[in-house]
C-alpha cells in the first residue's frame, strides 16, 4: 500500500507537521522520512517537541496541520480496520514502561497476542516467554511490574512492544534514568533487534552516548523545528551553534543582563520577547 510519491523504502513519512498546545506552537513544520531498517534518533533539549512528535506519529494526538504516513498509509485517513492492522505492525516502548500494573509481566507481554490472534494459550505462553528471553528477562514472567527495577521495566515493555513482530518500533527515552551499564544493555538490545528482525526504529532520547551508538541518522529538534538531520558524523561535525550547544551540553540561555533579570522577577505581565 505505498503511494506513488514514495520510494518503497520509506516507512515513516512526516510532512510539515504543525501542532499547538493551546496558543503555544509546539511543532512548527517538521518533516521527517525514515527508511526501512533504519534507526532514527530524535534529539533535542527539553521542550523541543521530540516526545510530542512521537505521540503524533503514533496517532495519540491530532496535529493542527501536516501529514503522517506509516508503512505508506496516512494515519488520519485510514479506516478502523486498516488502522488496527497498522497498529499490529507497530511496537512502542514508553519512557515509564506503561506496563499494566494489574497484570504479571507475562500477561503484559501476552496481551496483544490474546487480543489480536487466535493462538491457543499454550502457544501464547511460549511466544511471550521467548520474547522475555530476547530481552534477558527469562523466568520473570510471574512477577508483577511493581516488583521490577527501572531497567527491567523498560526491557519488559520492550518485550511487549516486539511480541507481534512489528515492522516499526518506537522508543521514548529508552535509557533515561538508568545507570550507564543498563543503558548500554538497552542500546545493544535495540541494535540486535534491528539486525536480527530488520525493524525500523524511531528513538527519542537526549542521551548523547546512546544516540551516537545506535543511530543511523539523527534528527535534532529545536523549538519545534527540524534543526538538522544527518548521520552521526554529520551531526558531530555540524557548525550550527544550537547543535554544538546540545553536543557540548552548553546552556541555551545567553547571559542575562541585570536589568532584564530584574524585569523578569518584578513585572507581572512580563513575557519573553
Amino acid at each position: 500500500m505505498t503511494t506513488d510519491n514514495h520510494t518503497p523504502e520509506t516507512v515513516i513519512s512526516v510532512k510539515q507537521l504543525v501542532t499547538h498546545y493551546g496558543m503555544r506552537k509546539i511543532l512548527d513544520g517538521v518533516d521527517m522520512d525514515v527508511k526501512r531498517g533504519e534507526i532514527r534518533v530524535i534529539m533535542g533539549g527539553s521542550g523541543s517537541g521530540k516526545s510530542t512528535l512521537l505521540w503524533h506519529i503514533l496517532g495519540l494526538y491530532e496535529p493542527t496541520k501536516g501529514e503522517i504516513e506509516l508503512l505508506g498509509q496516512n494515519i488520519h485517513q485510514i479506516n478502523f480496520n486498516d488502522n488496527l492492522k497498522l497498529k499490529q505492525n507497530i511496537g512502542v516502548s514508553f519512557q515509564s514502561g506503561a506496563l499494566f500494573s494489574s497484570m504479571t509481566v507475562g500477561e503484559n507481554v501476552a496481551l496483544p497476542l490474546r487480543e489480536f490472534t487466535d493462538l491457543d494459550e499454550n502457544t501464547i505462553r511460549i511466544i511471550s516467554r521467548m520474547k522475555l528471553e530476547v530481552v534477558n528477562l527469562g523466568g520473570f514472567h510471574k512477577l508483577m511490574p511493581a516488583q521490577l527495577s527501572g531497567g527491567m521495566i523498560k526491557r519488559a515493555a520492550l518485550a511487549r512492544a516486539i511480541v507481534m513482530d512489528p515492522k516499526l518500533l518506537f522508543f521514548d527515552e529508552p535509557s533515561a534514568g538508568l545507570d550507564p551499564v543498563v543503558a548500554s544493555e538497552i542500546d545493544d538490545l535495540i541494535l540486535s533487534l534491528r539486525d536480527t528482525m530488520g525493524m525500523s526504529m524511531v528513538v527519542v532520547t537526549h542521551e548523547l552516548d546512546s544516540a551516537f551508538k545506535i543511530a543511523d541518522k539523527i534528527t535534532v529538534l529545536d523549538n519545534g523545528k527540524n534543526l538538522i538531520t544527518g548521520t552521526v558524523e554529520e551531526i558531530q561535525q555540524s557548525d550550527n551553534k544550537r547543535v554544538m550547544d546540545l553536543l557540548q551540553r552548553r546552556s541555551r540561555h545567553d547571559k542575562l543582563n541585570p536589568s532584564e533579570y530584574l524585569k523578569r522577577l518584578t513585572q507581572e505581565n512580563y513575557t519573553l520577547s
Partner: protein, 253 residues
C-alpha cells in the same frame, strides 16, 4: 467556565455509554471482543464483595424504619401497617438508594482511581497504540458488571431490610418472624420490586460513567488521582439521589 466543563463532562459520559454498547454489539467484527471473564470478575469485585456491607446496612436501615414507623403509626393505632410500610418503602426506595450509595463509595471510587492512575502512567496510551479501544477494555466490563450485580445486591438488601424490620416489629405485632416475612412478601406486588430493580440498574450505570469520566480526565499525577476519586464519589451520589427522585416520579405515575 465551570458550567462549560460540566456540560463537556456530561457529553463525555454520554459518549462513553454509547461507545460501550457500540463495541459490545459490533466489537467482535473489529477484533474488539468483550471477554466474559472480565465481566464475571467485575460482578465478583463490585457485586459479590459488596454483599456483606450492603446486607448489613440494609438490615440496620430496616430495623431503624421499624423503630420510626412503629412510633409514628402508634399515634393512629395503626401499628399493624408497619409491615406494609416497611416492605413497600424498602423495595421501592431504601434498598436501591442504600446500595447505590455504598457501591458509589466502593466501586465508583475504585473505577475512577484505576482509570485515573492508568491515564497518569500512560497505560491508556499503551492500550491505544496496541490497538485496544480503551472504552471497550476499561469501561464496558464494569458497566456490564454493575448492570448485572446491582439488581442482585438490591434483592439481597430487600430481604435483609425486611428481616431487620421483622426483628424489631414482631414483638409489637405479636407475630413470628417467619409469618412477618411471608406476610411482607405477600403485600408486595411485582411493580414494587421492579421499581427498585430498575433504579438499581440506572444507579449502576451512573456509578460507572461518573467514575470513568472523572478517571479519564485526571491530570496532575497522584494528587489528581486522589481528587478524581473524591469527585467521583460525590458526583455519583448526587446524581443517584437526583435520578432516584426523577425515577420515583415517573415510576409512581
Amino acid at each position: 467556565m465551570w458550567s462549560y466543563q460540566a456540560i463537556e463532562r456530561v457529553g463525555f459520559a454520554i459518549r462513553l455509554f454509547w461507545d460501550s454498547f457500540y463495541w459490545l454489539i459490533i466489537g467482535r467484527r473489529y477484533q474488539q471482543k468483550i471477554r466474559l471473564r472480565q465481566v464475571v470478575e467485575q460482578v465478583r469485585v463490585n457485586g459479590f464483595d459488596a454483599l456483606p456491607i450492603v446486607m448489613t446496612l440494609a438490615f440496620v436501615v430496616g430495623m431503624m424504619l421499624s423503630i420510626q414507623l412503629l412510633y409514628a403509626l402508634s399515634d393512629f393505632g395503626a401499628e399493624s401497617q408497619v409491615l406494609l410500610a416497611i416492605a413497600k418503602s424498602v423495595t421501592r426506595e431504601f434498598s436501591p438508594l442504600i446500595t447505590g450509595v455504598i457501591v458509589a463509595g466502593r466501586s465508583g471510587a475504585a473505577i475512577a482511581a484505576r482509570i485515573g492512575s492508568q491515564v497518569v502512567s500512560q497505560e491508556v496510551d499503551a492500550l491505544k497504540v496496541i490497538g485496544i479501544v480503551p472504552v471497550r477494555y476499561l469501561v464496558l466490563p464494569p458497566l456490564l458488571g454493575l448492570m448485572i450485580s446491582m439488581p442482585l445486591l438490591v434483592v439481597s438488601a430487600d430481604v435483609m431490610a425486611i428481616f431487620g424490620g421483622a426483628i424489631f416489629s414482631v414483638s409489637k405485632l405479636d407475630m413470628s418472624i417467619s409469618a412477618y416475612m411471608v406476610e411482607s412478601f405477600n403485600v408486595l406486588i411485582v411493580g414494587d420490586v421492579m421499581q427498585g430493580l430498575i433504579k438499581s440498574v440506572v444507579f449502576g450505570v451512573i456509578i460507572v460513567l461518573v467514575g470513568a469520566t472523572t478517571g479519564f480526565h485526571v491530570t496532575g499525577g497522584a494528587e489528581g488521582v486522589g481528587k478524581a476519586t473524591t469527585s467521583a464519589v460525590v458526583i455519583s451520589i448526587s446524581f443517584i439521589v437526583l435520578a432516584d427522585m426523577i425515577a420515583s416520579y415517573f415510576l409512581t405515575q
